[in-house]
C-alpha cells in the first residue's frame, strides 16, 4: 500500500512538491503515527517539519492510532502559521 501525504508551506517548499509518498506492506493498514514515522524515515528533507506535526485524515486531525485505509485523504499539518 502506498499513501500520498499532502504537504504544505515550508515542508512543501523544502520537498519541492505538494505531496510525499510513503510505502507499507500490501494488506497493511497503517496508523497515523506509523505514517508520521515513515515520513521521518523515508523523507529526511522534511524532518525539520515533523516536530509537533499531526496528520489530518479526510480533513480532520487524526489521533496517532487512527488506521488509514485506501482512499483516505491524508495531509501533514505542520508548521502552520496563520494570522
Amino acid at each position: 500500500m502506498t499513501i500520498d501525504v499532502l504537504i504544505f508551506g515550508p515542508a512543501a517548499s523544502a520537498a519541492g512538491s505538494d505531496r510525499l509518498r510513503v510505502r507499507f506492506a500490501d494488506g497493511e493498514s497503517p496508523s497515523a503515527g506509523e505514517v508520521l514515522a515513515a515520513l521521518a524515515r523515508e523523507h529526511p528533507d522534511v524532518g525539520f517539519a515533523l516536530g509537533g506535526a499531526r496528520l489530518a485524515v479526510n480533513q480532520a486531525f487524526a489521533a496517532a492510532e487512527t488506521r488509514i485505509v485506501a482512499g483516505d485523504e491524508v495531509a501533514l499539518i505542520a508548521l502552520v502559521g496563520g494570522g
Partner: protein, 130 residues
C-alpha cells in the same frame, strides 16, 4: 450569538467585514484585532506573504475554533476572517472581532483565539522575498 468564520481570496478588505459585526444589548466590550503584513521578515525584506490554506479543513477549523472560544468565554459574538493567497506588505491578512459583556473576557478570547489559530488551523505563510 453570532459565530462567523470565513476565508477570503487575497487580503481582508473592509468589504469582507460588511455586516459581520452585529450589535446587541448585552455587549459592553468589542475588540477588533487586525493582523497586517510587515515589510521585514527577520532581517530580510519581503513584498508579500502567500497564505496557503488546506481547504475546506482550514475554514471548518476556523469556525470550530470560533465556536469553542465563544463558548468558553461566554462571548456575545465572534467573527474571524482570514486571507488566502497573496497579501502584500501593509495589507490585512487576518481580522478577528469579538464581543462580550465585559472587556476581560473579550481580551482573553482574542489572545486565546490567536494562540490556537497558530497551532490548530491549517494555514501556512510563505514569504515572497523582495
Amino acid at each position: 450569538m453570532t459565530v462567523l468564520a470565513r476565508i477570503v481570496g487575497g487580503a481582508v478588505t473592509p468589504a469582507c467585514e460588511a455586516g459581520v459585526f452585529a450589535r446587541g444589548e448585552g455587549i459592553g466590550a468589542a475588540v477588533r484585532f487586525e493582523g497586517i503584513v510587515r515589510r521585514m521578515e527577520g532581517e530580510r525584506e519581503i513584498v508579500a506573504l502567500d497564505y496557503q490554506t488546506y481547504d475546506p479543513m482550514a475554514e471548518r477549523r476556523l469556525k470550530e475554533l470560533a465556536g469553542e472560544i465563544a463558548a468558553r468565554h461566554g462571548l456575545r459574538g465572534i467573527a474571524a476572517i482570514h486571507g488566502r493567497g497573496r497579501v502584500a506588505v501593509g495589507e490585512v491578512s487576518f481580522v478577528l472581532w469579538v464581543a462580550a459583556a465585559h472587556r476581560a473576557e473579550a481580551l482573553a478570547a482574542v489572545e486565546e483565539f490567536i494562540d490556537r489559530l497558530k497551532r490548530d488551523v491549517p494555514i501556512w505563510k510563505i514569504p515572497v522575498w523582495k
